[in-house]
Structures are given as C-alpha cells and as structure tokens.
Symmetry: C2
C-alpha cells in the first residue's frame, strides 16, 4: 500500500475569479523529504453528456473552441454552477442543444490531472432524448447541433475531429452501457516466443 503525502500548508499563487486557482503546496513525502512548492491548480467541475435520441443518434456540437483553437465536434458539456452535477448536466444539455431526457445515468467522475488535480469532469448518459426547445446557450461560441451515429462518433475520435479528453472519457462508459461497445476478452493472444 502506498502512503499518502502530508500537506503542511499551501500558498495561493493566482486566483482568476471562479475560473482558476493555483497553489504551491508544502508537502511531506512518506520518506520524510519535503517539497515546498508542489503545484496544484483547480478549475470548476463540469459535466459532459452522451445524449442519445430516440432514433439512436447522438446529440453533438460543432463549434470553434479556443482551447484547441479550431472548429471541432464535441459532446454537450458545461460548468456546474454550485448545483448538483446531474442538475447542471440537464441544464447544459437543454441550453446548448434544446434536447431533454427523463432517463439520466451518472457514469463516472474523472480527475483532470494526476499530479496537480486540475478539476473534475462528470460523465453522464441521457437516453431517449427529445428536442423540446430551441438552443439558447448564452455561450460565446456559435454552436451547430448535429446528430451523429455511434460509428460517426468513433470516426471523429479517430480522426481528431472530436479531440477533447473529457468527451472520449464519457464515451467509453456510455457506449458500453448502451451495448454499442462490447468486451471481447477472448481475443487476447500471446506473442510468439523470441
């Protein structure tokens, strides 16, 4: 069993409103060594939604994003604003795409950065989504809503058209929960002896 590090305090290096906080943490390692400025940062939690329509298609967004600095495909996603993660996910899906569902499943929560923390993305699956309103995100991006099949999504992941780490992290458990990706453990092969 590996041993937890001990925090001896931390010093804030930067705070940008609610968007980013950066700390230098004073750490004592299990072997007694001390690190005085171990970097930690946090961004707000956000939800990523795999939203499947009644027809089996997935609600996606095509938009310019300033992180990758190009137009990409992504899943609906957005910041959780002091609310329950699933409440935030429902709100973001409706605002960004106009779609709603009564069948929600929390899939997983992922840590963005193993060393520095970086925040958490919560992955959700919404089944049987129906369009009930026009999108009204208020986001800075112009969002074009597109409905993609599962195979279209896999192609977009493979080509780099859907490049966000939080999207692929939501898709693995979602496509398995939907039975669209299935384990095939029998294909394990030993390599030839050398």
């Amino acid at each position: 069993m590996t041993t937890a590090w001990k925090s001896l305090g931390k010093r804030e290096l930067l705070r940008v409103g609610e968007r980013l906080r950066v700390f230098a943490e004073h750490i004592r390692l299990p072997d007694g060594r001390e690190i005085e400025d171990y970097l930690q940062f946090s961004t707000p939690p956000f939800a990523t939604i795999v939203a499947q329509t009644c027809e089996g298609l997935f609600v996606c967004e095509r938009h310019y994003k300033h992180g990758p600095k190009r137009t990409i495909l992504s899943l609906p996603a957005g910041g959780i604003e002091g609310e329950d993660a699933q409440v935030g996910a429902k709100r973001e899906l409706l605002e960004e795409t106009g779609y709603a569902s009564e069948d929600w499943q929390a899939l997983a929560s992922w840590i963005m950065h193993g060393n520095a923390g970086g925040g958490t993305t919560h992955s959700f699956l919404a089944r049987n989504c129906r369009k009930i309103a026009e999108p009204e995100s208020g986001d800075l991006e112009e969002i074009e809503v597109e409905l993609l099949s599962a195979s279209d999504i896999m192609a977009a992941l493979a080509s780099g058209e859907m490049p966000l780490v939080s999207d692929v992290a939501a898709l693995l458990p979602a496509l398995m929960a939907l039975g669209l990706l299935v384990p095939n453990w029998r294909s394990i092969q030993c390599c030839a002896p050398k």
Copy 2:
C-alpha cells in the same frame, strides 16, 4: 461552418517554471464583441501508455497521487521533456515500470480543456512488452507495478479506482485497436412512442 476567434494579444498572469503558464487573452468574437480576459492556461504535454505484455496483461501502477489525493491505479504516464512524444513514452514506460516494447503505435492526442487549452495528452499502445530492467523512475511517488487483465482494468474504471481522465482516453482507442472492445452497432434501439 463556425468561425475562428481572433486573438488581439495576451497577457501572462502566472508562470510556474515549465509546469504551468496562465494567460488572459484579448479575443474578438466573430460578431465583433471583444473579451479582454479570456482565460488560457497550459501544462506540459504528457504521454499515457497502454502497455500490454506478451501474456495479454496490462502494465499498471498503483501509487498515491496528489491530484486525486488518494492511492489509485493508473497507466504508466509522464511528461514529454522537449523530445518526440513517442520517445518520451518509451522512456517513461521503462523508467516507471522496467518494461520495454519494440511495437509502438501512436493512438491519439487529446486536448485537456476545451475552453482554456490546458495542454495535450498523447495516447500510445505498446504491444508485446517485456520486463528488461528494474523500475527507476526518480518520481516522488512510490510506484507499485501491477499486471492487470483487460476486465480488471474495466472494473477499475467503473469503480473509480482508475480515475484519471487521460487513462480512460488512452484505453478506448487501445482496447479497440487490440480487438478487446468491439463495436456492436446493431444494438441501437428506437424508444417506444409516447
């Protein structure tokens, strides 16, 4: 087609050596609006490696990580230090686990944060890995190397024991490339009419 944003300059808010840089960027949106302090940050690129042994098991690490602040399972991973990403991946796998491979495949590169950038993680698959040395990572963490089956890894993802977003992002394309996860598009169902 959504239109790219125009950068009118940026101001550095924080630099922590090579580990983190934070900027406020002055942006002009396609509709003419200007945002004077759009947050951008970057951390160094890092490689995440799905390393399969000749016996079909996967080389994993159990260690305390200060991002999640608990002991977790992860894939081998590490920062790329001014080198080709695959060279960095090979080095990190050998240093952290003692395993090496002659059969490498670059799978994908993922953007960590859609809005703020945040850096890139490169996902690699290394097949037919063999242990050729003792681990000697020089990392702060005490790493216990464990060999897991694909089904053990899926269970660890589902339970939260393997919580890093970069790990699940590497595993989806790797397990598909290995034929251990296969598409089953026929399972798409329409929902009952309401």
